[in-house]
Symmetry: C2
DNA sequence: TATTTATTTGAACGTTCATTTAATTTAAGC
DNA sequence: GCTTAAATTAAATGAACGTTCAAATAAATA
């Protein structure tokens, strides 16, 4: 467990306003919630487990957020939406040439994950599931800002011939996400699986860009 | 909902052994469980919700499976493991040339998903999560049979120069899974997102193989 | 036909969940 | 220093959970 346990272990915290240290509880609680969401999934996370991780009682969560639903809403508004807006900006700055655009996307995702390690696991998990907690958000808000933008630009590139003819621009967006988000989400697994301690994020990034650039390469009969 | 509701709707089923129709309850219950697992996640699925979907009481689940844990174990043993073994066979039959091997993998996954539509969503969801219900299974049993086999063969190919030099064979396995399983898991989403009713599974397969074959293609300055 | 065995429910148990309320402690403002 | 406001917990609520068990009903066997 990465999260530090509640500071001292002395007597079990009594009621009452705390001694002025330990400000920004709200942010701490959000952090704890995200950690639980990422490891157990949103639906399977109880307020109790979040509270335990943060070293408080479940009642405090409702003091700050009102309810479980509102806690999720706060998480989305304060920790998801801003990052997506940022990602969109970097795409807009990358222009319309496919290799540059795709590179910007892959690098952009890597950049996000660098700062928010929980991002890919949570994202993959809560979007792909039929009743995932972030699914509606993706389709209604994120997708227009990022995926549609990408697809539109790639469609233009294909018409100009700067994108291979047998690729579907819309499917390429999906492939891109699968090619970046998935390996990052699965990182702990393939590290263990392949004893791949020698591979760092930069190597993963290079590998991904190389695959996108040229495919498998080598000679082949097919 | 795909699962047919309990046949008749008359009076609310009393106790007692049923009238000889409606055999293989066990399989029906497993189907219902899988449907719930796929849409809500394993941890968030209650026995009650499975029972409701199958039109029985929660007690019956425990009659057939003993407990929630054993139900999960039965699901894995009876519905996951056999398919993996099958997939492994098709890889062994594909030989060692990278393009053929990779093609066999991609086609193999598509074949599995054709028969078991719940496969990708469940897989992605329960493996990527830190405490996912299938994670240990993957690392300890599936991975050696499929992923390690792939990685080993690809490593050999790279040494013989039939695989691009700047690809990492182990990471390529991860890329492959991301490139096939992820788009299939996300199918309902990108269909809606891009109004992509014109794209069928065969088109997705062609697109994926094309991307693997040549990358983005087109002309580029980079 | 009589008896045993298999399958199913209803009802109950103790646990955990999200949420509310009252009490408690400290900080902040006057 | 007094009063008010903010932050926190303990305790309580009712709903949902997994599980167990006796009773009920039909099938299978003798």
């Amino acid at each position: 467990m990465a999260t530090p346990k509640p500071r001292k272990r002395r007597e079990p915290r009594r009621p009452g306003r705390p001694r002025a240290d330990e400000a920004n509880q709200r942010e701490r609680l959000l952090d704890a919630a995200i950690a639980c969401f990422a490891s157990d999934g949103v639906a399977a996370t109880s307020q109790r487990s979040i509270a335990v991780k943060a070293g408080v009682t479940p009642a405090l969560l409702n003091y700050y957020f009102g309810s479980k639903d509102k806690l999720l809403a706060a998480f989305i508004a304060e920790r998801i939406t801003p990052v997506v807006a940022e990602l969109r900006e970097s795409l807009l700055a990358a222009g319309t040439e496919p290799h540059a655009l795709v590179g910007a996307f892959v690098r952009g995702i890597h950049g996000v994950v660098e700062r928010y390690p929980w991002w890919p696991a949570l994202w993959v998990r809560e979007v792909l599931a039929e009743r995932g907690a972030l699914r509606d958000l993706l389709v209604q808000q994120i997708s227009p800002q990022v995926a549609q933008l990408l697809a539109k630009t790639l469609t233009g590139a294909k018409q100009r011939g700067t994108l291979a003819a047998d690729l579907d621009p819309r499917l390429l967006v999906v492939s891109l996400i699968g090619l970046t988000l998935f390996p990052l989400a699965a990182e702990p697994i393939w590290r263990r699986m392949f004893n791949a301690d020698d591979v760092d994020r930069a190597a993963l990034l290079r590998h991904t860009l190389a695959l996108l650039d040229q495919g498998l390469g080598g000679s082949h009969a097919n």
